[in-house]
């Protein structure tokens, strides 16, 4: 670990190594924005190619979409509260909000898988049309990110339980927090340009 520790800063920013890791993660998120940008580009080009298959109006249920949106938005909020508690050096508050965040995230993944199963039973699979291929790839990539985030965060929680709040565990918690908020940012655009826009069109 780097020697020049600045205890005036929050735990996650105290060492040079931590500051570099956090900056590095922001650069990774920049690449993630572009990854999702390419998937949005594919969807934007193909979103009206139904090939005789179901259309968004046949498939999308606005109630289920709103439940997913609220679950993910609330989990982003509770994740922010977890980091807030971490900065007050309140380990139990951090863990409580962190676990609530993951439960809400798991609820989101459950809703999304249920939605996909429902679509497949209506004959809307990845192979049905270009619209559905691009839809499942975009939504599936986002859902995979959320699922992996739950696994990643669980491992960070185990580290906090074993080692307590140190500059290293605080940095890891802060970074998974950034990742989690980012997934909600992506969802805002999915909600707007995939669900709402296609239901209007």
């Amino acid at each position: 670990m780097s020697a020049n520790v600045n205890t005036a800063l929050p735990l996650e920013y105290q060492t040079e190594q931590n500051r570099m890791n956090i900056l590095g993660f922001w650069i990774f998120l920049g690449a993630e924005i572009i990854l999702f940008g390419t998937l949005f580009a594919v969807f934007s080009v193909l979103n009206a190619r139904y090939a005789g298959g179901p259309t968004p109006k046949d498939l999308f249920e606005i109630k289920d979409v709103m439940i997913e949106t609220i679950l993910l938005l609330t989990s982003s909020f509770t994740c922010g509260l977890a980091i807030y508690e971490m900065r007050r050096h309140n380990r139990n508050g951090l863990l409580l909000w962190f676990i609530i965040t993951l439960l809400l995230g798991a609820g989101f993944v459950f809703m999304e898988i249920t939605e996909f199963i429902h679509y497949v039973h209506e004959g809307a699979t990845m192979q049905t049309s270009a619209f559905l291929s691009s839809f499942f790839v975009l939504l599936g990539t986002h859902g995979l990110h959320v699922s992996m985030g739950i696994g990643w965060a669980t491992m960070v929680i185990i580290q906090i339980l074993k080692r307590g709040l140190t500059p290293v565990t605080a940095r890891k918690t802060f970074i998974i927090g950034l990742y989690w908020h980012f997934l909600d940012v992506v969802w805002i655009f999915i909600f707007t340009f995939v669900y709402l826009a296609r239901m209007v069109a």
């Binding site: 929050p10 956090i22 998120l29 940008g37 949005f40 909020f77 900065r87 909600f191």
Partner: protein
Amino acid sequence: MAKNTKGFPLTHVLGFIMSLVLTFAALGVALKTNLSFKTIIWIIGSLAVIQAALQLYMFMHMNEGEDGKSQIINVVYGFFIAFVTVAGSIWVMSFGM
């Protein structure tokens, strides 16, 4: 950066309430009005950008830390490339249809 370490997490609560308002505003504009498709896309697209910026500032504290400026430039650049990719793809694929 360490300013909100005591008391009530005001910026988080405000960010959450504003995100909810923006989400339901987009829902209302999209499904409860009779505006043209183009108008609706512009309105809900703008609401999405505002909400994304809210998340980045109020939840992710994008501008904090000694590298705050680099972080902002990096994210703005990422969104610029994403926008060019999406808008450029729509534009180039609109020919010959």
